[in-house]
Symmetry: C2
Subunit: 363 residues, 2 copies
């Protein structure tokens, strides 16, 4: 165990409880969470009186497996790493509702690829879990951007939790920051850099690369998708703005209602000049209350170098929140990775553990 | 009420409860908290089923007043603003223990000036409150820097809380960030800018002022004390580093054990040159785990402009935390004021409300 004193938040004075997890999707994030659960096993037991066992895994390409007595995590990881089949049946054929029942899952861990147009299939997976009386945690921004209120209300009715700390800013505490540390504070608006890829591309372009070279570099280090359009054109950022507004500002802002302009048409020479003039370009996300609700935007802006957002380099992200009690609050992450995203999911799992038998809360 | 949706965290489904507050010290922060409690009254009742009433105030220069049925907050504020006497008796003469009993206080709000050499009299005030079975919240860093473990253990024995969110970074959630949003994360170390005054002075010096002009400017806007030595020589930052290490890294680091170098001997010309060369000076606080525990330091350092700490201008503060799960986590505040400090105290009061009848927790 690492030579440091982990925070103990929880219910160690209560009796040990085992939570059955069902992973839907088992890509990089799922594997990182599996490894993190193994790494943190002793502190989870000592500090939270909780142990988590994997009782089901469903993937689109590798089939699915379940066992209410617990699957062999190492075996699953070995098969996944070897890109082999986890099980013969596909989960479409089995049906998620049945799989959750057969695996006696307490919590659905939703980590499938999501459709930026509608947040599916993640939203439906979460719906199914909550309707079946199971908690749902996800690293997907889609369901939070498109279906937050419905899923939040479903969770309340079922006295279960719908949590998504990892959906924005790769595991940096954002939603829990507001939920747990900003009591009675009204959020007026925010400015943020939420998309790592475009920030990385701009940083590369400032150092002399043209757009295509920067994209190639980003793809080489695994930052940019094969199709970088969702990032470059601001779609990823738009969904994250919608998610933050829906949850933190309690206003249902549709992604389509957010002004969107990507970095695709920026001239690399202009990007270099802007940095040289200490007025760097960033893909800036904004949300602010208006008489009619909340207005959101994602667009390239030139920032002054004493603007905290201007200091976000490489794959970093940062959120500057204006509240009626704390005018200038900053939260940021400088080193996103599958492990930090997995940590966001673990934090959600522990929020469920901490709440104990009843998950009812006024929000 | 402000046109925004405050977060509702708490126990609104429980019955309304009134908490009796005793303020010891009633300067700028005490008045800001009194105003904030009035401003937030409706949301506290609606969202937390809590109401706070002032049942005692003790000051060194203006005497003290108490009434278990509740004091007239407006009247007290008017007298304080008019710099008049709150009551005839001095609290030394009455004795805090008696005053807390006579005022039937549930929570001591400790906001007296603190001695940087030993954290007194704040630590003794808090000791008295906890021994008497009362919660204690403070904006004082002294007791957290010098007596954290003793006071934490006293609080646990009494099943009461000792909270101090406002003691470092003026109300920006720091201690609650770790307590509530970083479960099972081990903190390896941190880098930070924690002293507003020196950061403001450096910013002024970069813009052409010499040291004395900068100090005068800071005093003119009420940032620097009449005796700026505690800030300039790094004492304030040292106590904040000790407080953060004691609590967040669970290691008892004495302020005297922290390497301290202030900005007093910095040559203004060098400060200007450093900024011009994009290697600005900042008074940087550091803590890192070592084989023997934790090493802390406060000293001027030149930072690269893509270092988030380099973007902290004016009176801002920022903390960059390295954990075993989130390698680069940033929390910062850009607009400190008596109101933000008061908000930190309010957040502590609401943490007590949220915990309900028993305050026991494993940390």
């Amino acid at each position: 165990m690492y030579n440091s004193q982990p925070t103990l938040i929880g219910r160690s004075r209560f009796s040990m409880k085992t939570y059955n997890l069902f992973f839907i999707g088992f890509g990089t994030i799922g594997r990182a969470l599996a490894h993190l659960l193994q790494e943190k096993q002793s502190i989870l037991q000592a500090g939270y009186a909780a142990s988590f066992q994997l009782t089901g895994v469903a993937t689109r390409r590798h089939g699915c497996a379940w066992n209410p007595a617990g699957l062999d995590m190492d075996g699953i990881l070995r098969m996944a790493d070897a890109d082999g089949r986890i099980g013969k049946r596909s989960y479409e054929e089995a049906g998620l509702e049945t799989l959750l029942k057969d695996s006696q899952a307490d919590i659905l861990v939703e980590i499938t690829p999501t459709d930026r147009e509608n947040g599916e299939p993640a939203a439906s997976h979460i719906r199914t879990a909550l309707r079946g009386g199971r908690h749902a945690v996800t690293a997907n921004k889609g369901p939070v951007a498109y279906a937050y209120r419905e899923l939040r209300d479903l969770a309340r009715q079922a006295d279960r939790r719908f949590l998504f700390e990892a959906a924005v800013m790769d595991g940096t505490p954002v939603f829990s920051l507001q939920r747990e540390t900003l009591p009675a504070a009204g959020i007026i608006g925010f400015r943020a850099i939420l998309n790592s890829t475009t920030n990385y591309l701009l940083t590369r372009m400032e150092k002399g690369m043209d757009f295509e070279e920067a994209v190639a570099a980003a793809q080489a280090v695994g930052i940019a998708e094969t199709d970088p359009l969702a990032d470059v054109e601001g779609w990823d950022a738009v969904l994250k703005v919608a998610a933050l507004v829906n949850v933190m500002m309690d206003f249902p802002l549709a992604p389509a209602a957010i002004t969107r302009q990507g970095i695709g048409m920026l001239d690399p020479a202009a990007v270099r000049r802007a940095r040289a003039e200490d007025r760097p370009f960033k893909l800036v996300c904004r949300a602010v209350r208006t008489p009619n609700g909340v207005a959101g935007s994602v667009r390239p802006e030139q920032l002054s170098t004493d603007d905290p957002l201007a200091s976000v380099s490489g794959t970093g992200t940062m959120l500057c929140i204006e509240t009626d009690s704390l005018p200038g609050l900053i939260i940021g992450g400088t080193a996103p990775s599958p492990k930090t995203t997995a940590y966001g999911l673990l934090a959600d799992l522990l929020a469920i553990v901490r709440a104990g038998p009843s998950q009812r809360s006024p929000f």
